[in-house]
Assembly symmetry: C2
């Protein structure tokens, strides 16, 4: 009886692990950052394309970010800003040969402005989550690498919100 | 006294005309379509790039469109769908030579699914508004031109919503 019970518990634990492995990661990131679960519903800030990475990007922002973008007050971005940048591989459209469209999702990057908490990484928390399961980047404190390329003179953010009507 | 009054009225009318010319167009389109004023706040469906037009695009949708996109039920798109496609000229980023980013806004296209009202143009109303002032395209019933290129086998919509986590 005891063996059956142990086997049952082990079996159920395994099933739970497998289920969790297929579940999108919405927990805290390694740097402690909490990403609101509704980030996919955020409004658009901009789009971009990168030839060296063969990718198309969409840049979304939380309400603080959108208010700042629309008011043209993004250098620096205000405290509490969160920006999500979605990266897809790009491919030629099957419907139009001169168009480039998203292929598979590669990763989503999130940056959150908290000058005190993230003082050591330019006042921004940096998070990168891979694939549909949003697996966290396993390099500790990779934000320091981001800062090596992101433009300090523009508050470490590449995106300049474009014109909207 | 009468001449002064006439001059005043003419002057005020001129000022009002100038002010209106600088106001973003949010009224009904030539085909009668009403575009909700908050369309800029809609959620993202996809992004795209076109080499032949040297442009970057963002595709947003109203709630009906987003629900359909996320459920993978977009062929046909449901009645009431409105999709907004924002077109910017593209340029090389000043901050990263391999990146392409939006330049000036060219136009915004809107399509609304109403199979009865727009039966003669594939079940979609077609609207194109130019520039920051959103000036309506002055070609009558240009939707017929759109249909000549948009894929009928995909409900006349090029966009295939990409993966999101």
């Amino acid at each position: 009886m005891r063996k059956i019970l142990i086997a049952l518990i082990v079996g159920l634990s395994l099933m739970a692990s497998i289920a969790l492995a297929g579940t999108k990661n919405t927990g805290p990131a390694p740097n402690g950052m909490i990403i609101p679960e509704d980030w996919k519903d955020w409004r658009l800030i901009s789009v971009a394309q990168r030839n060296d990475k063969n990718s198309l990007r969409a840049i979304l922002g939380n309400n603080i970010a959108i208010d700042a973008a629309r008011a043209g007050k993004t250098n620096p971005w205000p405290e509490g800003t969160i920006i999500a940048k979605i990266f897809w591989k790009q491919k030629t459209s099957e419907l139009y040969k001169d168009a480039t469209v998203p292929a598979e999702l590669v990763h989503v990057d999130f940056i959150q402005k908290d000058s005190q908490k993230y003082a050591s990484t330019g006042g921004w928390g940096w998070v990168r989550r891979f694939g549909l399961e949003q697996k966290d980047y396993d390099k500790p404190n990779f934000g320091l690498d981001c800062m090596g390329c992101h433009p300090k003179e523009q508050d470490y953010v590449f995106t300049r919100p474009p014109q909207l009507p």
